[in-house]
C-alpha cells in the first residue's frame, strides 16, 4: 500500500477491517477478517467499496436532484411540483425511473446501432470519472490526483464525443442539429473554462483539488471573482443549462441530440446530465468556496459543509434555469469568444502579476501565499472584476446589437380620424 492511498480515509478503514495491519502502521491495530496472504483481496474490496459508494451517491444524488429541481422550479413558477408519491413527492424520481425502464427501448432502423447504444454509457462514464478527484471531506476522496483540475476538464470533455455520437448515429436531423450546435458550443466554452482555472492554479501552485481546498484560507470566490464567474458560466454551458441549453432546446429542435432515445437509455442520459449539475456544483464549491472547510469543525463536519455549499450552487443553477430564456447559437459563440475569453485572460494576467509580486517576497515557491496576501488580492481583484465586466459588457453589447430598450412611441389616440 502506497502512502498515496493511506491518506484516503475510506480506503484505509476498509483495508484495515479486512486485511488487518500491514507493516505495523500507526493507523491500524490488530488483525483483519481475511487471513494472511489475502491482502490483495482487501485492497480490491476497499477499492470496490469506494467505487460503489461513489457511483451510487452520484446516481442517487441525481435522483434527489431531479426531485428537488422539479420542486424548486415549480415554486419559482408559483406551482407546487410533484407531491403525490411519497412525502412531498420525494419518490417521484423512482416512479419516473420505473416508467422509463419499462418503456420500449427503441433504436431507429437507420441508426448506427453500436454508436447509438454506446452513447449513454460514455456520458455516464465521463461523469462518474470526473467525480473521482472530488474531495468530499478531509481525506475522503477516491484519488488525489496531481493534475486534478485538468483531469476534470479532460474527462468531462469526453461527453462532447458522446453528444456527437448521439447526434450522428440517431440518423435524425434534429439530433444532428443538436449535435452540431453542441460540439461548436462545447469546444468554444472549454477554452474560457480552462483559462478561468489558471488563476486558481497559480495561487495554489498545484492542480490537486485537495491542495486547492487546503490553500483556501480565504474563499477563492473573493480572490478570483472573475475566474469564478467565467467558470460558472462556462460550466453551465458545458452542462447544457439555460441560458446555454441550445443543444437540447426543446422549443426548437425537440430534444436535440437525444431526440431518438427512449427507455433506459434516455434515463441514463438524463441521469448523467442531472448528476453533472451536482458534480459541477461540487467543483464550484471545492474550487471557489473552500470545499469541506467550514467556519468551525471542518474536520468533523467536512461533509456537511461541502453539502451545504453544493446545495447552494445547485440552488443557483435551478434559479437561473427558472428565470432566463436561451440565447441563439451565434450569440452564445460571441459570448464565449468576446466576453468570457477576454475576462478569463484578464483574470489570468492580473493573478499572474499578483502571484509573482507576492511570491517574490516569499521566496521562489508558489502556493505559499498567506491569508493577508489573499485578502489583499481579493481587495484588488473585486474592483478589477467589476471594471472588466463593465467594459466588456458594454463592448460585447454593441457587438450583439442591442439597442436601448426604449418603447415610447405609443401613438396618441387617433380619435379624430374619421372613416366615411
Amino acid at each position: 500500500m502506497t502512502p498515496f492511498l493511506q491518506e484516503n480515509v475510506v480506503f484505509r478503514e476498509v483495508y484495515c477491517f479486512l486485511g488487518g495491519n500491514e507493516g505495523n502502521a500507526s493507523w491500524c491495530g490488530g488483525d483483519g477478517l481475511l487471513p494472511g496472504g489475502f491482502e490483495w483481496a482487501a485492497y480490491f474490496a476497499a477499492g470496490f467499496v469506494i467505487m460503489f459508494i461513489l457511483v451510487n451517491a452520484a446516481l442517487l444524488g441525481a435522483a434527489v436532484f431531479v426531485w428537488s429541481e422539479r420542486r424548486l422550479l415549480a415554486r419559482f413558477q408559483a406551482r407546487r411540483g410533484p407531491n403525490r408519491w411519497g412525502p412531498w413527492g420525494i419518490f417521484q424520481p423512482i416512479a419516473d425511473l420505473l416508467k422509463l425502464i419499462i418503456k420500449e427501448d427503441i433504436v431507429p432502423n437507420a441508426a448506427d446501432r453500436l454508436a447509438f447504444t454506446l452513447v449513454p454509457i460514455i456520458m455516464l462514464m465521463a461523469l462518474l470519472l470526473s467525480l473521482a478527484v472530488m474531495p468530499f471531506a478531509r481525506n475522503t476522496y477516491l484519488v488525489n490526483l496531481n493534475v486534478g483540475i485538468l483531469y476534470i476538464i479532460a474527462v468531462s470533455s469526453m461527453s462532447t464525443i458522446a453528444i456527437f455520437m448521439a447526434g450522428w448515429s440517431s440518423a435524425n436531423k434534429y439530433a444532428m442539429f443538436g449535435a452540431m450546435r453542441g460540439v461548436a458550443m462545447l469546444i468554444s466554452y472549454e477554452i474560457p473554462l480552462v483559462l478561468s482555472l489558471v488563476g486558481v492554479v497559480l495561487i495554489v501552485g498545484s492542480m490537486s483539488l485537495v491542495s486547492v481546498v487546503e490553500a483556501q484560507t480565504v474563499p477563492f470566490l473573493l480572490v478570483q471573482p472573475l475566474g469564478a464567474l467565467v467558470f460558472m458560466l462556462g460550466i453551465s454551458a458545458e452542462l447544457n443549462r439555460t441560458p446555454f441549453d441550445i443543444l437540447e432546446a426543446e422549443s426548437e429542435i425537440i430534444a436535440g441530440y437525444h431526440t431518438e432515445y427512449s427507455g433506459i437509455k434516455f434515463a441514463l442520459i438524463q441521469a448523467a446530465e442531472m448528476a453533472g449539475v451536482l458534480a459541477a456544483s461540487g467543483f464550484l464549491a471545492t474550487i471557489f468556496m473552500g470545499g469541506w472547510s467550514g467556519p468551525f469543525w471542518s474536520g468533523q463536519l467536512g461533509a456537511f459543509w461541502f453539502l451545504v455549499k453544493l446545495a447552494g450552487f445547485v440552488m443557483l443553477f435551478i434559479w437561473i434555469r427558472a428565470t432566463f430564456p436561451r440565447l441563439r447559437i451565434d450569440q452564445i459563440m460571441a459570448f464565449a469568444w468576446k466576453f468570457l475569453l477576454p475576462l478569463a485572460l484578464i483574470n489570468f494576467l492580473v493573478t499572474a502579476v499578483q502571484v509573482y509580486f507576492f511570491g517574490f517576497y516569499q521566496g521562489d515557491v508558489p502556493g505559499e501565499l498567506t491569508r493577508n496576501e489573499l485578502w489583499i488580492m481579493a481587495a484588488i481583484n473585486i474592483p478589477v472584476a467589476l471594471i472588466a465586466i463593465g467594459i466588456f459588457g458594454r463592448f460585447s453589447r454593441e457587438k450583439v446589437r442591442v439597442p436601448e430598450p426604449v418603447f415610447q412611441n405609443i401613438a396618441p389616440s387617433p380619435r379624430t380620424m374619421e372613416v366615411d
Binding site: R75, A78, R79, R80, W319, T323, I389, G390
Partner: protein, 201 residues
C-alpha cells in the same frame, strides 16, 4: 450596467418563490365553481317534460335521442307523452347549453359535474334511467328563476320539479325594467347601426 435586467428578472422569480403557489391540489381542493357552470350531468325533470324534443332539435350536434309513446291519460287530464328513451351522448356533447335554452318547459337543466371519465364510449351516454335516478342539482345556467332564488347547486340540496319552474317568476323582469329599443325590419342593402338606439338609462 450589463446584466442588470437579468438580475431584476432573478428578483422577480425569487419573489414568486416565496409566495404561495397559485395551483390547487385537484381531487382534495377544488376551485369554487359558479352556479352557472355548464356541467356534465344533466338534470331532467320528467314531470315537466312533454317530450316535445325541442332540445334534440336545437342541439347543434344532434346527440340527444328521444323516443316517446302516447301516455295513458288524455291531455285534458294533464297527461303527456311517456318518455321511453332520452339518451344524451355526452361523449360528443360540447356543453353549449342550447338544449337547455331551447326547452320551453324548464324540464332540462345543465348539471355542475365534470368528472365523467370512462373507459368505454358507451358509458358516456346518459340514459333515461340515469337521468331519472340522478340527484337533481340543476345549474342556474339560462334559468334566471333559479339564479334569483340564490340557488347554488354545490351547497344547496336537490330541487324538486315544483321548485325549478318559472311560473312564479316574471320572465326577464329585471331586464325588461330598462328601456325598449327600436326595431326596424332590415332591407337588403340597408346600412345598419345608425346611432345607438335610445340613450342609456
Amino acid at each position: 450596467m450589463y446584466g442588470f435586467g437579468l438580475a431584476k428578472g432573478l428578483m422577480v422569480t425569487l419573489k414568486n418563490f416565496i409566495r404561495p403557489p397559485f395551483t390547487i391540489q385537484y381531487p382534495e381542493e377544488r376551485i369554487p365553481q359558479h352556479p352557472r357552470f355548464r356541467g356534465e350531468e344533466f338534470a331532467w325533470y320528467e314531470e315537466r317534460c312533454t317530450g316535445c324534443a325541442s332540445c334534440a332539435k336545437y342541439c347543434p350536434l344532434g346527440i340527444i335521442k328521444i323516443v316517446t309513446s302516447e301516455g295513458g291519460r288524455s291531455p285534458q287530464e294533464g297527461g303527456h307523452y311517456d318518455i321511453d328513451v332520452f339518451d344524451i351522448d355526452i361523449g360528443r356533447c360540447m356543453f353549449c347549453g342550447l338544449c337547455v335554452e331551447a326547452c320551453p318547459y324548464d324540464a332540462l337543466f345543465m348539471g355542475s359535474g365534470f368528472e365523467r371519465g370512462r373507459y368505454e364510449r358507451q358509458d358516456l351516454v346518459i340514459t333515461v334511467d340515469e337521468l331519472r335516478e340522478a340527484v337533481k342539482k340543476p345549474s342556474t345556467w339560462f334559468r334566471p328563476q333559479l339564479e334569483d332564488s340564490g340557488y347554488d347547486p354545490h351547497k344547496d340540496s336537490a330541487l324538486d320539479w315544483r321548485a325549478v319552474g318559472r311560473e312564479k317568476w316574471e320572465w326577464h323582469q329585471r331586464e325588461k325594467a330598462g328601456a325598449r329599443i327600436k326595431f326596424r325590419p332590415a332591407r337588403v342593402g340597408d346600412k345598419t347601426q345608425e346611432g345607438d338606439g335610445e340613450a342609456r338609462s
